[in-house]
């Protein structure tokens, strides 16, 4: 009852959903990519949050606690998808793109799509490590705490995930080049001098 929650200074279930739901939804979209419908996963996360809310002891922040539940439910969903090979494809509907900066957005969209397509093919543990570290920017130690796996294990999963993702992207680039009939970047040769990543700036 809302009255008890108010008396105990706790947010009501609906307040929890309204306050933290949008962040959960954004988090799930960032985890599953722009072309995946996450409504069912969102529902599963919030149902789990509501079910476990009475047992929330307040040892951590509600936001952190909900994030952990989100990760757990998302991981289960990734396992299902991985098992069923139900990864999204390039043929599926994309988010609407406004007319301004269409070219840039399409390029970003393409880059994003390629990345999430590759992530969708990774083993869920590796996928989670790459997502949380390389996209969400969480330090390895924090990932280790949140997913409940040893630091070394998370590190290994990250390295393996990155290698597989890079291999997927290389393969995809190769097949696109072949489909276009040219393989300008397929031949080894001197690289342009300005083609350096952030790492080169150090």
């Amino acid at each position: 009852m809302a009255l008890i929650d108010r008396l105990l200074g706790r947010p009501t279930p609906e307040e929890v959903v309204r306050e933290h739901g949008p962040a959960v939804l954004r988090q799930l979209r960032r985890m599953f990519g722009p072309r995946t419908d996450v409504d069912d996963v969102f529902q599963a996360v919030m149902v789990e949050v509501l079910r476990s809310l009475p047992t929330f002891a307040g040892r951590s922040q509600l936001k952190t606690w909900i994030h952990r539940i989100t990760l757990n439910v998302a991981y289960q969903e990734m396992r299902l998808q991985y098992r069923e090979r139900a990864t999204t494809t390039l043929d599926e509907a994309t988010e609407p793109v406004s007319e301004e900066n269409v070219e840039t957005k399409l390029l970003d969209q393409e880059a994003l799509t390629l990345l999430y397509e590759g992530l969708g093919r990774l083993d869920p543990k590796k996928r989670m490590a790459v997502l949380l570290h390389d996209i969400e920017g969480l330090p390895l130690r924090e990932i280790s705490e949140r997913v409940g796996r040893p630091l070394q294990t998370v590190n290994s999963q990250l390295r393996a995930g990155r290698a597989e993702l890079a291999a997927f992207m290389a393969e995809r680039r190769r097949s696109v080049s072949e489909a276009r009939g040219g393989a300008s970047d397929a031949q080894p040769g001197p690289a342009p001098s300005n083609a350096r990543g952030k790492g080169a700036s150090r």
């Binding site: 722009p34 970003d108 690289a191």
Partner: protein, 209 residues
């Protein structure tokens, strides 16, 4: 793709994330300078990661409302459970309050009025004739009642809760005592006896019987 390319490719994401050790980085950069394909892949990875990091999915308020509506059965279910919990809590609180009131009420019937004059132990406290217990020899504040069994002549002890337990013992029918006054009839001053006195009175009673 050469073996060198394959080896360096595995490090590309760490390179883009600036997490390579200096030696590894130098080796990779040297490779990138001579390999267009790996260089293009590096650009692709940089572009994809940048797009993903910059991507801030928007939440459409209408769509979110739709999702909240989908959750309404769970919200109501939770409220119903809370309501049941609240009812149980309320019932428990009422029961506890009743128990407290009854205890206080009984406490006023107990020898509380005698607290400032003398100890309640070693006192004859009841005087109803019964077949089994010859006499009650004492009752202390913990509700411990001592009585002499009529058949064995042993002192038996009961434990209870204040006056109510001795009252319950009375209801079971167990008191058989001489002319000793009770709390009710004569008050603490006239009923006060030490245990040896009570026991002596009991023996006298038996002899007389």
């Amino acid at each position: 793709m050469s073996h060198a390319c394959e080896e360096q490719r595995q490090l590309l994401m760490a390179y883009v994330q600036e997490e390579l050790q200096p030696l590894e980085r130098a080796r990779l950069e040297s490779h990138l300078e001579n390999c267009k394909r790996c260089n293009a892949l590096k650009l692709q990875i940089t572009s994809s990661l940048s797009a993903a990091k910059a991507w801030a999915p928007e939440v459409d308020p209408e769509h979110f409302e739709h999702l909240v509506r989908r959750l309404s059965p769970y919200l109501e279910q939770r409220q119903e459970r809370s309501r049941i919990g609240f009812s149980l809590l309320l019932a428990g609180a009422v029961a506890a309050a009743l128990l407290l009131v009854v205890s206080i009420r009984l406490g006023t019937l107990s020898p509380a009025r005698d607290r400032d004059t003398s100890s309640a132990t070693d006192r004859v406290v009841a005087a109803q004739p019964t077949p089994h217990i010859r006499m009650v020899t004492s009752m202390d504040w913990d509700g411990k009642v001592s009585a002499i069994d009529a058949q064995t002549s042993r002192i038996t002890m009961t434990r209870g809760f204040g006056w109510s337990s001795s009252k319950a013992a009375t209801a079971e029918g167990s008191w058989s005592v001489l002319q000793a006054s009770t709390w009710r009839s004569s008050g603490p001053a006239s009923s006060s006896r030490s245990r040896p006195e009570a026991r002596a009175a009991s023996w006298e009673s038996r002899k007389a019987a």
